[in-house]
Subunit: 399 residues, 2 copies
DNA sequence: ACACTTATTTTGTCTATTGGAAAAAGTGCA
DNA sequence: TGCACTTTTTCCAATAGACAAAATAAGTGT
């Protein structure tokens, strides 16, 4: 049954309006009080009073005057992204990035600490300590942490991460007790798709999928403008889409899972098999002759060098992905599908091939309607993801 | 960009609270004022005043007293579902059902008019006229219309229906002009999944899929407690999930679409082909020896009679469906998947086979966690669907 | 310089919620 | 049976936020 929303009082309406006004300034600023009032259907009085509060908080500043349209010049209001900071932490399998960022996801200072083989409790302690050392002065609005693996975002608990040996770690609680700062936790892929929507090129997409192609393949899903997590945070297991009923058995119980054809672990297994069978590939040379040393980078470089095996595998990847994506398009009809992750980032040829394949396969794949697109965020996108999570929380209209 | 919510005033809060209180009485009634106040965190005064208004409107009535717990006995409040009616219209390909229903989707009076070969404008005129004749007295809260095919629910326009020759018909506008009553329009499958959630056995499902297996296969999708329609209402094309890359070509451009293996049109084509090749089946006898006369019912009956061909086709259906459903489970991880439509309704063996198959294929198909379930609404479920659409609208908490 | 515009602020009104008191209707024990 | 205590419901005055109207500020255009 639908949870009945909680009743609210006068104070709530003020907060609601203040939040709307702040977001209007954030997204449409510089803007005058009068224009906000018109845009949001509020009385000028209400806007004046809310803006007064926002200026007192330092979140908004008057910044010059606009053009007159026959009367008094409007006083323009501007959002002040540096009035507060958020601490963003992107936990990876090999390193932890940590940054102080402003309210527009701009980096103020950054630091990376190695995981250094730490796992489980030791890793958590290490993390808590590092954060404590990282904090200076105050003016922090909160902390945001992203972790790969299964995350219970609602309760702030890392449910499970194989490689980091984390199981049911109540990170949110631990961090809040230690720092007294509001803390958000989210899965890394979810965070990144939020970042693409709020700080990348996909602002207008109500329904957005981010397909992350690394060792395995996962998806971050935004539907109706907010993250979709499924029943127990189990949504987005895109890598286990079966694209071939009689394909390779997967340890998920099914056969022909997409991951085996388009994820790095699957690809790597095939590369090894080919090499074992005596096939020649530049990937081996690039890895210094050691098959165990081949990395995704070697694959991408070999691709650019025109390596035949790499080509072949790319083709397979594209076909496999296009089948899975076509199915998603039919079911969800999203505004866009983003291809990201180590094997897709900067791999334009994969994108081209996938789109071509989908155009053939799918009703929705109309000519000039390219739906599968590249990630738009470069650089510290993992940190931008963490920032997106907490900033979305901070600026969310209540109710 | 996220649409910023509209600003609100005092009147809004009153409506909001009234709506919350009404829904509390609807779902948890009979209930006392005090209990509502506690449950919703409202002051007793506020509840009293809202209840006063609701009683004046006739939506709520005092109905006896409850048990005392040491003080004054509570006066219980009860929802009055018969205080208003809604007109529900389920347009089908062969007939149009029309009913006056109360605020709990109970039928007060009903009528079915045949489509009788009417199409396009003629059909629409016929429909408008029939509704006008159907209306008696007043006390109507609105009209709800469901139509198969592509529907733009937001604007109340039937975009496209092949068989009824409808294209861009602004039904909502036409009906509202004619009757002066608020009118909702929705796709039939979407309406039915809403009905399963609000008036069936799936009340607790936040994320729910209804797979409708008729001529083709479509899906109605509820995510986070409300209908998901995709970019242009194009979501739910489940029948065009490709389950076999080298399968039968489909006019959607892809190959091996689920529809061909599990939808009636696909099944029928296969049955004809088998008969043509001389295969013996009881379906032919049931249809009086005329292959063109075979209907889904004949298939279902033959199945119960142990017909070999029907068995074979059922097995294929189950396998095909399970592949498609497994993919959905991996991506959306819903609370439940409902199998409905002519070929699934009452077809328990299909359900059993699909579940068995999924248990093998899928991580999520854990033992006692049967996710694929039968439709729970019997009888006039198409009308219940229409009712669900408008009642959900009427009782929705604003904001 | 004067009439008209537009933007912002001030002032007073309106209204839904609310806390607390009062009323209504009980319970339970001596 | 009477009296003290509870619980539910209603009444009342206070509060606070939105708002309309008026006032003020700062223009434009002729």
């Amino acid at each position: 049954m639908v949870a009945i929303k909680r009743a609210k009082n006068l104070k709530f309406i003020q907060e609601w309006n203040r939040s709307i006004i702040l977001n209007t300034i954030r997204h449409s600023g510089p803007i005058s009080r009068m224009e906000i009032a018109k845009k949001q259907g509020l009385s000028p009085t209400t806007v004046t009073s809310a803006v007064h509060d926002l200026m007192e908080m330092g979140l908004v500043k008057e910044s010059g005057v606009g053009k007159s349209s026959g009367g008094r010049k409007p006083i323009l209001l501007q959002f002040q992204p540096d009035s507060l900071s958020v601490i963003c932490i992107a936990v990876g399998h090999t390193s932890i990035s940590m940054a102080e960022m402003n309210l527009e996801a701009g980096v103020k200072q950054k630091r990376t600490v190695p995981v250094g083989g730490r796992t489980g409790e030791e890793l958590v302690d290490h993390l808590l300590q590092s954060v404590e050392l990282f904090l200076r002065s105050d003016g922090y609005a909160g902390i945001s942490i992203t972790v790969p693996g299964i995350v219970d975002a609602e309760n702030g608990i890392v449910r499970y991460n194989e490689r980091l040996k984390l199981r049911d770690v109540p990170i949110k609680k631990l961090m809040e007790e230690r720092t007294q700062l509001q803390t958000c936790l989210e899965n890394d892929t979810n965070a990144i798709v939020l970042a693409e929507k709020y700080y990348g090129s996909y602002k207008d997409c109500e329904n957005l999928l981010y397909i992350m192609i690394d060792d395995g393949i996962g998806a971050g899903i935004i539907l109706r403008d907010s993250l979709y997590r499924g029943r127990n945070g189990g949504a987005g297991e895109f890598g286990h889409t079966s694209i071939d009923r009689s394909g390779i058995p997967c340890n998920c119980g099914n056969r022909g899972c997409l991951e085996h054809y388009a994820g790095w672990l699957g690809l790597y297994a095939r590369i090894l098999a080919y090499i074992h069978r005596g096939r020649i590939t530049q990937m081996l040379e690039l890895a210094g002759g050691d098959p165990m040393a081949i990395t995704p980078d070697h694959f991408l470089i070999a691709l650019n060098l025109g390596d035949e095996l790499a080509e072949e595998l790319l083709e397979e990847m594209a076909v496999a992905l296009s089948v899975g994506i076509s199915n998603i398009l039919n079911i969800l009809d999203p505004d866009a599908v983003i291809l990201g992750g180590e094997l897709a980032q900067g791999n334009e040829r994969l994108l081209t091939k996938v789109n071509a394949q989908i155009a053939v396969e799918n009703i929705h794949g109309a000519k000039d309607d390219i739906l599968v697109l590249p990630a738009s965020l470069k650089g510290d996108y993992a940190l931008t993801g963490a920032a997106a999570v907490i900033l979305q929380e901070i600026f969310r209209v209540p109710g």
